[in-house]
Assembly symmetry: D2
Homo-oligomer: 377 residues x 4
Amino acid sequence: MKRRIRMGMVGGGPGAFIGGVHRVAARFDGQIELVCGVFSQDEAKNKSMADELFLPVEKCYPDYKTMIEKESMLPEGERMDFLSITTPNNTHFDIAMAALDHGFHVVCEKPMTLNSEQAKKLQAKVKETGLVFVLMHNYSAYPMIRQMRKMIASGVLGDLRKIVASYDLGWLAAPNAGKQAVWRTNPKFSGIAACVGDIGTHAEQLIEFTTGLKIAELSADLATFVEGRTLDDDATIMLRMNNGSKGVIELSEVACGEENQFKLRVYGSLGCLEWSQQTPENLCLKTNDAPMKVLRRGWAGMDDDVKGMVRLPAGHPEGFLEAFANIYADFTKAFLAYKEGKVYDGCYPTVEDGVREMVFIEKVVESSKKNGAWTKL
Amino acid sequence: MKRRIRMGMVGGGPGAFIGGVHRVAARFDGQIELVCGVFSQDEAKNKSMADELFLPVEKCYPDYKTMIEKESMLPEGERMDFLSITTPNNTHFDIAMAALDHGFHVVCEKPMTLNSEQAKKLQAKVKETGLVFVLMHNYSAYPMIRQMRKMIASGVLGDLRKIVASYDLGWLAAPNAGKQAVWRTNPKFSGIAACVGDIGTHAEQLIEFTTGLKIAELSADLATFVEGRTLDDDATIMLRMNNGSKGVIELSEVACGEENQFKLRVYGSLGCLEWSQQTPENLCLKTNDAPMKVLRRGWAGMDDDVKGMVRLPAGHPEGFLEAFANIYADFTKAFLAYKEGKVYDGCYPTVEDGVREMVFIEKVVESSKKNGAWTKL
Amino acid sequence: MKRRIRMGMVGGGPGAFIGGVHRVAARFDGQIELVCGVFSQDEAKNKSMADELFLPVEKCYPDYKTMIEKESMLPEGERMDFLSITTPNNTHFDIAMAALDHGFHVVCEKPMTLNSEQAKKLQAKVKETGLVFVLMHNYSAYPMIRQMRKMIASGVLGDLRKIVASYDLGWLAAPNAGKQAVWRTNPKFSGIAACVGDIGTHAEQLIEFTTGLKIAELSADLATFVEGRTLDDDATIMLRMNNGSKGVIELSEVACGEENQFKLRVYGSLGCLEWSQQTPENLCLKTNDAPMKVLRRGWAGMDDDVKGMVRLPAGHPEGFLEAFANIYADFTKAFLAYKEGKVYDGCYPTVEDGVREMVFIEKVVESSKKNGAWTKL
Amino acid sequence: MKRRIRMGMVGGGPGAFIGGVHRVAARFDGQIELVCGVFSQDEAKNKSMADELFLPVEKCYPDYKTMIEKESMLPEGERMDFLSITTPNNTHFDIAMAALDHGFHVVCEKPMTLNSEQAKKLQAKVKETGLVFVLMHNYSAYPMIRQMRKMIASGVLGDLRKIVASYDLGWLAAPNAGKQAVWRTNPKFSGIAACVGDIGTHAEQLIEFTTGLKIAELSADLATFVEGRTLDDDATIMLRMNNGSKGVIELSEVACGEENQFKLRVYGSLGCLEWSQQTPENLCLKTNDAPMKVLRRGWAGMDDDVKGMVRLPAGHPEGFLEAFANIYADFTKAFLAYKEGKVYDGCYPTVEDGVREMVFIEKVVESSKKNGAWTKL
């Protein structure tokens, strides 16, 4: 294409975290430009953010419906090409449906919807329209996670036996954890789960993404440690996978002292792969019959396909934003393929991952309510 | 005392692992000497081991009953003072009962007995005789584990909320894992659990030891991955503690590629303590409002009582054998106190830990058979 | 300002590494846009790069002189505001002088010039014009390096005694190390030193930047291990600082197996600070009388000024590009201050650092030629 | 042999550090027993230590001359077999000479003597008597150091190019660092160097031991940071090796905050090996064309000869004392070979290492006095 891809945005007003991350990630590779947005329901904040982003005043819309309608009346190349949705969970569905209905591709924050019913409707809509829909499971776009997926698929670990994921943060350890915490612990905005929806879905998605397996059934024990909360802030979930392997997801948002401690280990009959989000450049391969290998992003030993994601030479640390940007790079490829009537065969997270995560949330809550009864997905 | 403490031993023949460790640990501090033993049921092996240990031929006994009887007829100072039991699980009970009945103190390998019934009888016998009985939970004697216990007791972490233990080894990943594996996977020698008995008890003991809490109920999912085995080689166990906190123990002996990966994290309302057996010199304290602290064995910041356990200055690594030797040092103190008619108030693992671990094993197996039903201890 | 800052670029053609990094870093925060450039001396490559960057054909200039002249004739807001220089060392001086002479601010790659004579002329020119000149010592813009500087200045380490820097890469271990290696080992493009110019200057700059000390004299031993090279690919440099403290810089570009291993330790009478570029989120504070503290970017314990540089919450890894972008953020602040007739008092690397590094290179080479004679700077 | 090897000891009185370490190390494997000693020049302390060690009063001698003479008059099997010398440096020579003259084998602390003249005389005496003389360079007996030596000898690194050692401790950072510091900083007991003698010799010995190279010449810069000291407490030493490779040793005993931070990296044309004393179980192999390998003590990938040194399975940490005990194990083998009229071909440190280290100390001091002039060994 002779021009940048044109992005609209809903969300990401002053003080928001993830909306700003989307903007940096979208412009990372210079292929996408932000052309319009609804950043806040508060008019002053909305305008102030548009100003800060050097957007012309007429491209700062009062609400998503107006934006989608007005933009859809502009000619191709003047209207936005796709919409990034970075608002609280409860709004994703309506916005995404409207965008798709008006012919706009979508990049959507996770968890995808409020419940699995919405998720399945959205899935049908994506199928019906044929438009590109990318779900922002950013951790699945770390190069060493893609490497892990490739290695497991190639049989390096043999038959998979055990999967151990843990995701611990301390940010909700105290009752008053700031603005971002308010909506995440409020069922109106978050749905039926807080911790499980916020970080449990990352664990679930990464497990299925890297192993190629499906969670067959689960047994969950949710907890709420901070007084006054109605939703979970801690969970343990035992897993049985569809190949007979076992697993466990340990989650906490009241893990005082932890930053963003997301770890994944996968064991098979031949060895183990281990990755940790806070040191994302390393992927550790352990076996019983050879010294431990530490694969490093950008160094020798990477899969050829994965090498293509590498922006910097090894030893020049890439981080969270690069992984986020990799999802936008996936979107870019999928969008350009669409323009040419083709389908991009990359492994980015899609509406199917979104359906999967909503079912997961519901089954976790169901199992926990039944005192941990094994519940099929 | 004007002489070394005199140790007898059952077990630890040629090719045994843990018996040799006991011998090194016992002589570590120069307070204990091995004076007699039954090292093997095979006469030639028994004698050859005694030779190797420079024991006179008459101190190499054909069986434990003979040893206990003959030694008990010798005068104090010529007979053994205590017996170390390092044989397979199924024999611990009879040997320990006989030793205690003849007035010998005992150091016993874990798991303590074959079942909780035996354990409780042994507990009664220890109480009745008033003799010293030390259970070899060596990991509880790493200085940084004792430090962790002290810090938690002093309230550094606030109210405890979450406990995460994992213990993974790869040594049973293949069907044929050597001589030591044979009896550990055979119910006749091991009891009703293999992996849970062998390493799960370490996790259970360390959790209760460091936190001062008790496991109130548990939900377990055992697995057997290697064909031909009748006992578990993998397990996940969810915990509810007696103070309302939650926990999880993840265990595997088929975790291909892992050496002896035993990790423990404890979270409270004020922070987290984290320890890992393969880097036992570090204890990491994380909180939300200060930089992470890494306490190091022998360096500033250690509790005064724990400092007394330190043999080497910081930076001169201590390891597994020192921890093992610390249990023998605890035994030494308890024995010397006994001799003076006193009671040593140290925090070493005792027959009560043994009862606890046997109940734990049984409840884990019971829960797993009931498809993970929450089961009270 | 109501618009983005307008950047021109010299260098960064197809296959170049550092030019692309400059572009990502410049657009990172959405404050700067690339508006014109000379990307290659090869016309086809030049145009192809401009195309790739969505630049209009008339903004792709054939050479830097033309660009500077033509742009200088455009009105403010239509012309470029500043020039990024990302070409080989030997061209920096002429381009920077021309830019400054035509009223353009400059961001310049390091090492700044071919020799100290050029450096001093450039320093005079910057002073004369009053324009903003930023030298791209990206490592000095890692938040934990700025934190280190602040802590040392505040006296956390007491009187400084010893500084140890090492910088090791394996990329020149073999004779044929690719296009980027060719000019870096060619005196015509690189000047009188290769390894010392390329990475030694990073070490020198970071030492003086973090400690606030100056290297008073040095003793160097350069080496060339790969046959056919005329310049150094390895060096050791002993330092005596202006406060009486000592130091050493160990450098190698033939350190086979190393990625980009840049480490710095500073010792004082009260403690030590330690940082490593491959794990840039950590800053380790060690003292004799307290447990080791690991300060983490974005977590508690950071200096308030440094907090302002943090883009992501702790545990969401930032890396090399963020540090690079921080230099552009410094430029942005300095530029905006200039526009308002003020001076930004940030601690970014300037033309003075450039003079310093050129003197350093020359003294290192001089000392090595004199078989390590101590040589004053 | 049908009995334990009989050890006599000079040094290791109450409050001494290294003497106690020797005793633990000597009895580690159950092959050696302490049978007599001179532990202190203070009669009460001498006796009290002998009591503590359960030695009969007649085996606690008033001075080394008496001990050597009296023991030499006892029959074989009743007298000591060898003498461990753990006193301050200035006494090693006389004691060792006397022991050898009376037919006793020797284990001697490092640095071996007060100067190279003594060292060479001792070397001649060892040769003349044919007795076993082992120098306690304990770090050379870590299994992963022996592994490193083997791998380098086998050519894994190709042609060696660069060696980087650093050894930093904080224990002498303050003027009053306790009893052990007093003699180590006093030339009467320590000789012409403190820091270089105490820890520099470890670096020198380990470099030559692991690489098989010799230091050809060196350039040194010594420093004394703490007021009142007459000897060095800090040093940097540049090296040129006999094969044309380069190196550097960075040393400090005023490195406030460091425990016992001894690190070694060796680079060759094919890769790098890296080891750190505070994590002695790891040996890291890095190359340009494969993922980093972390060899672990006891795991797959170890040399067959080195495997024989392993006491515990991988993941059960061994530490400083095991390395120390490995030197006594080497002595044991050499002693038993001697008894059989053979020569043990192990790679333990000998009197030649002692000569080498004394020459090294003298050349370092000489170079530093000449302001770093390159000085041949």
